[in-house]
Symmetry: D2
Subunit: 349 residues, 4 copies
């Protein structure tokens, strides 16, 4: 037991933070030794989250790199945008391994960050140091490093659904349209009219069309994979449910490709990776089929009439889209099997 | 009161039928004189629908054209596909005005019907006679006729969102992609695993990708408007809510057009029509904003980066997508103001 | 048209206020001439409520009795507790008819108000003047008066379900237990963790057990009806839905009574009243069966094993529990048929 | 690994069955070696449950005691009522340990079973042999036995909430009223109008008032605990959510007892048991706080005005109310720590 990796979580009172606590509780080689919240330091974490009653009886710590280092080896940052940019340097200097779940270190260009996030960007040296932790694509680069920037929820579902096709030249990158849908937990725990039950229940709404800060993150990766600049059309919608993301993606197919061609390509690309599952022909995944788990499930429909393919990709936004993939990255950083502590079955129904 | 138009409803025990009953109850110049169901004839309609207790105390009639004619002037057909094809000739011959809410008379080509519906098509003469009742577009053709085919729910939201742009040449019809989402009531009242609460709640799923029978209906109209063959990519999703459809539509913009150009074009196109509302720049409608009403609300986002426009169109699938537009057509057929009995406020929240 | 009664609504930006706007829009003899909000005065009401786009294009007025009197004959107050207490005197003095939907004038005892509401009570003279507008019970007292205090949502469902049995001595008032459940709209539009979508969706919770401010309101009426002091056990729960209240009520039956005895008693008590519907034996109403309407539906189960009766009563909290009953009271105050403008069919499904 | 206990599940295609699969997948000392379904034998289980894709690739077995014995040591029966009654004898004779999740062996009286279940009861010898597995109450009796009857979902939440108070004489058993609420998954996966999404969403309904087959199960245990015959009033409601049960319970308090008295009593009674958590004064649990976990959380409100206590008890109906408690019983039967494989954190939000 004393050989377990000690983990601290900054931002433990957000949904990403409590999901880390849930998942890490069954990790065989890690234990959460410090739950941290600048806003609620000193209070028992179970006070604001009664589901943790008798599970975590500890008090929330304040954000203090020296204190964290005295208690932990690895630290997750699950704060709103803008906070990690300032915290990361001192955490790394303290000798901690850092996994940032916020968006502060995903964009390699400070200009792009400031344009889309409307905040001051982090120091370029740390941006350069951060490895983008899309585990099934860049997992090798994550192994052994000290600092990983965890991908956004929409980019995870979207990129896992597009990369094999873009890389293999199956689709024309200039024609990509992404119609994304998310459960409400992606908006965090902050109360606002935009997260008010009576406004969202029995409602379906679009938001931030062509303005979402995940657009440059998606395009940065697709540009890297395609080897040429890629711009995309990206729409986000809010679904009256708590968890789950679906990206429905459209693109022109290069030449003649069948559903089976896509299925084979993707199965081959993700060979040996446990968390991507490809559906057979004529079957598309639904968000409930990955609920509470680290899976990303993908299905295809090639349409001969239009020469386009429709790709459907689903994840649980709080797991594969945040806490789960972050733990997968921790495993890789520590040289462990990436699936450790993450091989649970989706909760259905 | 005796001067009211007498209305019969075939398929009164489906969701489309009970919605007709709800809406017509407040119509100043029409009254429902016969509720009809072949499967439940003889039973009180309120038995299966307790919300109608003391509102409608009558028994369900069987389907009998002579009986219907003795009780009514106008008949709505709200049955599953395949039934109206057989019923309509005798109803028209009996001298009734007929509004068919099923899909049996929407496609002008019998081959197309049989390909997409997998059923035998109706008699070509009656197909030819049927006027397609997309009221804001073909309303003039509806005035005074005896037989109207009411548009499908997805086509209504989609076509009202696309037609002004296609007609004005603002967008390239060959690039149209339609990502549609519907509440569960669109699937009707029949119980199946696909409509089971525990399977759909907290779930978002795609279905019938590139296979939905509303595709040829949309393409038939767009082809008519564009003056050239149009094929589209069309995806349907099921949202965990009861009512509401959103069509999110994508297309390449021809030349340079701003959001304001689209807004002006649409406001001009729908000038004088009460049921289409165009949102101002940067605002998109949500389905709850039209819940229970006959409105179709539309918003735009032109993206200079990609040269594409995203168009968001929402309706209540049971009202503007079915019963409400059917009544709008009835009004036009009878020479009444099309808004009669339909000017109610959406139920919010 | 100029003969319509002119109506102002204070608190137009709350859910009660917008529901008044929705319902009054189809009232044949009333029209809303002023929408009022102290917090948003000067803004278009449709800005915060896009479902009102093109339906109400007017700006929100500030709260000013003289201005209100210049525009209206009747004023509804749909504000949080504590506001009406201060406003009512000047509104009455201005010569307006007033219907208060807040709880400020329901309790006849200022001490009780201050104990349960934790606020300063209104002036006793105005409390004494206010007629408690439980229309099916005290409707005669409402006719023609100038000032009505509209009942709370829980008291409406509960009292309509209990009064005939208490009055007839069918049940022992000292044994009454009320287990109430409400949709989330009852909590209003204010954003808080308690109304946050992700916290309430897929969740069922109890709140304010034995502490709810509707307890003394229920007991005051039951005491009046029973002719002896009645105290009750009352629990409130939050249901993951927007609208609807169910009160499930338990009491010891006096002597031997059958379900049919209860059904007959209630049908007789509510004879001639349109908005209470009694279910037949073995059938209980669900909240959806009254959704969007002014109905209160009631069912019974007498259990010989225990000698208790279970009474189930449902309403739409925003209609019969607030705006609808308020309009019913307005009708009575003005000498109109109480059902005017309220005879719409529940929206189902 | 070969030392793991081998487990078979009869009724693997029901919600109880797939929940057993989910939970047992992370059990350190058990593994599911046979998934069984008489209706779907021969098909891959993942076909009907795509969330199990690549997790369980095996085919469903038919129900055959000899085959089961060749593959497993322990068998769970998760079928509808009436099936286990016939299967259990041959399974026990084959030398299997049996945990029956259906209701066939809960009632000790065949007459009671036949009255409430309207089916032929099981053989009295096997009824007598079955140990009622309410683990926190009868856990000692479960240790080492071969045949356990797992409690129903409503009885589990209800009895854990009532037993300490009844046993200690804190409440008068003759005054107990139970107002229970359940998510829809309790109704199983069978499609019917009663489980149809559009009928249940945005709806709250009561059902089987005073008729539910869990009534005699609750009364049998309370009678045993109280040492005198207990009859109760019991109402069930359907909540528009998938998982979760809340029992809100009312009873007269004997003498003067405070909330703290109840809290102390319950904490003492459940001392050393991991899965019952008692809330502090003024706090009541909600169903989401136990979602996906084996916890039963309980809170109290003593009301001096009425002399009654309100007790709120919540569980996840598929875990503590079915599969989780069944595994807890398996652990006890096998002499293992009862918490093995069940110490996961509730999924929140």
């Amino acid at each position: 037991m004393s050989s377990k990796v000690k983990v601290a979580i900054i931002g433990s009172t957000g949904y990403g933070g409590v999901e880390l606590i849930r998942l890490l509780a069954s990790h065989p080689q890690a234990e959460v030794t410090s739950v941290i919240s600048s806003s609620s330091a000193g209070a028992p974490i179970a006070e604001g989250y009664p589901h943790l009653t008798e599970i975590r009886t500890d008090l929330l710590d304040d954000v203090d790199p020296a204190l964290i280092k005295s208690k932990a080896d690895v630290v997750f940052i699950a704060t709103p945008a803008g906070v990690a940019a300032k915290l990361v340097p001192s955490l790394l200097e303290a000798g901690l391994k850092v996994i940032d779940i916020s968006g502060d270190f995903r964009l390699k260009s400070r200009d792009q960050y400031e344009k889309w996030y409307k905040k001051e960007a982090a120091d370029q040296r740390y941006i350069d140091q951060a490895v983008f932790g899309l585990a099934e694509v860049y997992g090798e680069a994550v192994r052994g490093v000290d600092f990983v920037s965890n991908p956004g929820c929409f980019p995870t579902a979207t990129l896992l659904g597009l990369i094999p096709a873009v890389k293999a030249g199956f689709i024309d990158p200039s024609t990509i349209i992404i119609d994304a849908k998310s459960g409400v937990s992606g908006a965090g725990r902050g109360a606002s009219l935009g997260t008010h039950y009576s406004e969202l229940n029995e409602n379906f709404k679009a938001y931030k069309i062509n303005k979402h800060q995940h657009i440059p993150e998606i395009e940065q990766v697709l540009t890297d994979i395609a080897g040429e600049p890629v711009v995309t059309t990206f729409t986000t919608h809010l679904v009256p449910m708590t968890r789950g993301i679906m990206s429905t993606m459209y693109a022109k197919v290069n030449g003649m490709k069948s559903n089976e061609d896509f299925i084979s390509l993707y199965r081959s690309y993700y060979e040996g990776r446990s968390f991507v599952r490809i559906r057979p022909e004529g079957i598309w995944p639904s968000t409930k089929e990955v609920w509470g788990s680290n899976y990303c499930d993908i299905g295809f429909s090639v349409d001969e009439r239009t020469g386009r393919v429709t790709i459907v990709s689903v994840i649980d936004n709080l797991v594969k889209g945040a806490a789960g993939q972050a733990i997968q990255n921790m495993n890789l950083m520590l040289g462990l099997d990436e699936t450790l502590g993450l091989q649970f079955v989706p909760a259905y129904p």
